[in-house]
């Protein structure tokens, strides 16, 4: 990139202040996502009468271009703008989720989507990045001038959790709650409170285990050598071995339900082998840890908390998805950020990373920012 450090145009300043290591890792993950979309697409579109084709992959190419725009755009925002955009996104996402509940189509028993022609948008995906930024803003204000930040944070968590539970989407609810607890922890919540919350969470999980036969089934499957999907996923990893069976040559993907979304990691394993899988895990690790450390180094609590919270959102989702594929965690449907097929998830992840990259940009202490 031929940009002078002395160049003060908007783009040059962005380029020299953004975390280029994280950005490169994110772009790498997006490229791998497209590669895998081409590998998984024939299986996802194969319906007996019509042979599988690349229509999923072509669509995903369009999604990726849009996502890139969202991410770069969001990373240009300053702290104030980030907060305002997050507030607007939170409101829109919540209203969208309510509308999806009322008028959205029923997909496998859940009402999460709004239909725009052939495109399905899942508004609740955008709650996570927006909530992360807003919670950071409340908690940072508390530190600065005694604002009741915890109360406001929980006050915003409640409507989001209620709508997610009504859809129902237990996975997203858990994810959002964990992010909230983590941010309270970052903001200095005493350890005995964290301990109490941990005990409470364990209690809720136990309750869910006894009340929901579905949850019990998943756990017992996990304990007893895996369910059908995870069993096949393990076969896919095993079949892939060191070198993989080759792009497009995988056979298990044709029988693996959700090969292009929740189990894309297994397709990567079968076709491309251990190196690509380890690369994906390493890239996620780099993005998560880099963004956390850059946030930690910020001079103010708001970018510290927001950056770390958003990084955690990405890292946690990636870890759960990969952990489920590898039978390290019990089965829970969750997409692999930047890699699974689907527009909504990709756009929301792009917004999350865009906010995080923007918040972790190097900033000289400018008078107007120091005041805020």
């Amino acid at each position: 990139m031929n940009l002078s450090r002395a160049d003060t145009s908007g783009f040059a300043r962005w380029w020299w202040t953004i975390d280029r290591v994280s950005l490169t890792a994110v772009l790498g993950l997006m490229a791998i996502g497209l590669l895998l979309a081409f590998a998984a697409s024939p299986a996802a579109t194969d319906h007996g009468s019509a042979a599988g084709n690349f229509s999923y992959a072509i669509k995903q190419l369009g999604f990726a271009a849009t996502a890139l725009g969202i991410m770069i755009g969001a990373s240009f925002l300053n702290y104030r703008q980030t907060r305002m955009v997050a507030a607007a996104v939170f409101a829109l996402a919540w209203v969208g989720a309510v509308m999806a509940l009322l008028i959205g189509p029923n997909v496998n028993g859940a009402h999460r989507w709004l239909e725009f022609g052939s495109f399905r948008l899942e508004p609740s995906e955008f709650l996570k990045p927006a909530f992360g930024v807003l919670a950071a803003a409340f908690l940072a204000d508390k530190m600065k001038r005694g604002f009741p930040g915890e109360a406001w944070t929980l006050g915003f968590l409640a409507p989001a959790v209620i709508i997610l539970l009504m859809q129902p989407d237990v996975g997203q609810t858990a994810l959002l709650s964990i992010i909230c607890v983590a941010m309270l922890f970052f903001a200095g919540l005493p350890y005995y409170w964290i301990g109490a919350l941990g005990v409470g969470g364990a209690g809720l999980a136990t309750l869910a285990y006894f009340i929901h036969p579905h949850v019990r089934e998943r756990i017992s499957q996990f304990m007893n050598d895996g369910g059908y999907q995870t069993g096949l996923a393990m076969k896919a990893f095993e079949a892939g071995g060191v070198t993989g069976v080759g792009p497009g040559a995988g056979t298990i993907k044709y029988r693996l339900p959700d090969a292009h979304t929740d189990f894309i990691f297994a397709v990567a394993g079968e076709e491309f082998g251990v190196f690509l899988c380890v690369l994906i895990a390493v890239l996620f690790g780099v993005v998560t840890i880099r963004l956390m450390l850059r946030s930690a180094r910020a001079r103010e609590p708001f970018p510290q908390l927001a950056g770390a919270g958003l990084a955690l959102a990405i890292g946690l989702q990636a870890f759960i998805n990969m952990g489920v594929s590898l039978s390290v965690l019990p089965a829970k449907g969750m997409t692999l950020p930047l890699i699974s097929y689907g527009g909504s998830s990709l756009f929301a992840v792009a917004l999350t990373l865009g906010f995080a990259l923007g918040l972790t940009r190097q900033r000289p202490v400018l008078p107007e920012e120091a005041k805020r």
């Binding site: 095993e238 956390m292 039978s327």
Partner: protein, 533 residues
């Protein structure tokens, strides 16, 4: 700077703690990947078999006779890595499952991956594989579609793929019914297997006797639109995975279009009678070929010179029919054929449906040739539906393959009066015209013969014919239409060497009617007369 709160260092420490925790988590993932993919510490036991696809509902005929059913089968897969003797495993598995030993050996040799051994094993073969006692086998239990009647009705019913998704015929067209059937209730078709056996038997006899390239046929209820039987020869064995030589999955009744020739005169006369452009006793000059532009219209045999219009139909004169059609002309003819559904692709539960072909430039000459069925190509099922609409009292019939005994209330196309006159004319074809061999005493068959020359390299080939007969019974109050068509029949001694529709198709239609009328409970007209002298 002094006023800056001290918390950021606390926040910094706690985030750093989270970063360390994240590093541990991702390291666990990486370690697990290496463990599973390189060191092979993955699952060793067989995975819990789960039925992937819900069962498809049974297909039954209108009387509940079974046409298609899912039977339990298993797919077996192998992880050759754990075989101690690859060639022994390949040999045993080949013996037990019928899979090719060479293929298995080649696939097992690298001792890695996950190899499909055989699909669709019956329960006893699965048992035989179990008895081998080999490690590293996975069974996936599912279902396989079985068709107890084999080749009979294969084209209408169609097939499913190895994953039980419909790929052709009603299996595809009724996919939603078959997959969404509540508590596995069977899907009941309009087909009547007894009628189907009779039709296919007669078609096979004709196909063999006249050495035809292909034969197509159907039996249609002209009031309810229900298809009782539909067949196309050559057919295929739906229970086999591959086609035998000479078999064909092509459904000639729906997938191909033909210039059907003189049976189209039904529509020319219907239009003329509806429009009152002809009187049945009016004398028409058919003495010499009709010149149209630089094109001559001929008759098969020399008639006339002057014959009544009714005999133009009964004796199937092209010259006479063309003259009568030209009184209405293309501006009347085209919308009329459209109303009969002959210019649009037919919509039924069968997905394989060819669209009709007709001239874009449709003037006098085209109108004259279309009057006797040349210059327009339709699939035979569309023709049969249109003919049924003419004889049933004049309302549009839309064929269906689902049992529905309600009389269709299609839109009116012609008056009842015209329909009655057409039935008289079709009876005349059998009593005094080209279709005499289709008559069945007591069932008052009416009909029309068709003999078309096949277009070849831009002109018509005199020896390559499409010969057909469309019969309706009982003609006074029609209930069923029987249609049989032969592609390139060769006349034999019994027909005096003739290969025309009246010679090769009409006798078969007559025999089908004679056999199915009692089965379908159609009353003989002569017994009624005998009972009331």
């Amino acid at each position: 700077m002094a006023k800056r709160p001290v918390q950021p260092s606390l926040v910094r420490n706690r985030i750093a703690l989270a970063a360390i925790f994240s590093a541990v988590c991702f390291s666990v993932i990486a370690a697990r990947l290496v463990d599973v993919m390189v060191l092979g510490a993955g699952v060793t036991g067989a995975i819990t078999p789960v039925i992937v696809h819900p069962m498809r509902a049974d297909l039954v005929d209108r009387n509940g006779v079974l046409i298609a059913r899912d039977l339990p089968v298993s797919d077996v897969y192998a992880s050759p890595k754990v075989f101690w003797d690859v060639s022994e495993a390949a040999h045993g598995l080949a013996e037990a499952t019928g899979a090719e030993e060479g293929r298995l050996l080649a696939a097992f040799a690298p001792k890695r991956g996950y190899i499909p051994v055989q699909r669709g094993l019956s329960p006893d073969r699965r048992e035989a594989v179990m008895r081998l006692g080999l490690p590293g086998l996975t069974f996936e239990d599912g279902y396989k579609r079985f068709y107890p009647s084999g080749r009979i009705v294969s084209h209408a019913v169609g097939q499913v793929d190895t994953d039980e998704n419909g790929v052709s015929g009603l299996e595809l067209g009724l996919e939603k019914h078959l997959k969404g059937s509540k508590d596995g209730a069977p899907v009941q078709l309009s087909l009547d297997m007894r009628v189907q056996y009779v039709l296919e038997h007669e078609m096979e006899e004709a196909q063999h006797a006249f050495n035809a390239k292909a034969t197509a046929g159907l039996v249609l209820n002209v009031r309810t639109g229900e298809v009782l039987a539909l067949a196309s020869l050559p057919d295929y064995e739906p229970n086999a995975r591959t086609l035998s030589p000479g078999d064909s999955i092509r459904n000639r009744m729906t997938q191909d279009v033909y210039e059907l020739g003189s049976i189209f005169k039904i529509f020319a006369f219907t239009l003329a009678i509806e429009e009152k452009t002809v009187r049945l006793d009016e004398l028409i000059n058919v003495g010499k070929p009709l010149k149209l532009g630089n094109h001559y219209i001929h008759d098969f045999e020399r008639l006339g010179p002057l014959i009544p219009a009714a005999m133009v139909f009964a004796e199937s004169s092209n010259i006479g029919t063309a003259q009568i059609e030209m009184r209405s002309g293309p501006t009347k003819q085209k919308p009329f054929l459209k109303k009969l559904g002959l210019l649009d692709p037919l919509k039924t539960e069968l997905p394989e449906m060819a669209s009709p072909l007709y001239p874009r430039h449709w003037e006098e000459v085209e109108a004259a040739t279309i009057a006797y069925g040349h210059g327009i190509s339709v699939n035979p099922l569309s023709f049969a539906a249109a003919a049924a609409s003419v004889v049933n009292g004049g309302t549009r019939v839309r064929p269906t393959f689902l049992k529905d005994e309600k009389v269709q209330d299609g839109e009116r196309i012609i008056s009842e009066e015209t329909s009655r006159t057409m039935r008289q004319l079709m009876r005349l074809v059998v009593t005094d015209g080209t279709g005499s061999k289709a008559d069945v005493p007591g069932y008052d068959v009416g009909g029309k013969t068709g003999t078309a020359e096949k277009a070849e390299n831009g002109s018509y080939a005199h020896h390559l014919l499409i010969s057909s007969f469309c019969g309706v019974f009982p003609i006074s109050d029609p209930q069923y239409l029987v249609f049989i068509m032969l592609d390139e029949p060769h006349g034999n001694k019994s027909t005096g060497g003739f290969s025309t529709g009246g010679a090769v198709a009409a006798p078969s239609v007559g025999r089908v009617i004679a056999k199915i009328a009692p089965l379908l409970g159609v009353r003989r007209t002569d017994t009624v007369a005998a009972a009331n002298p």
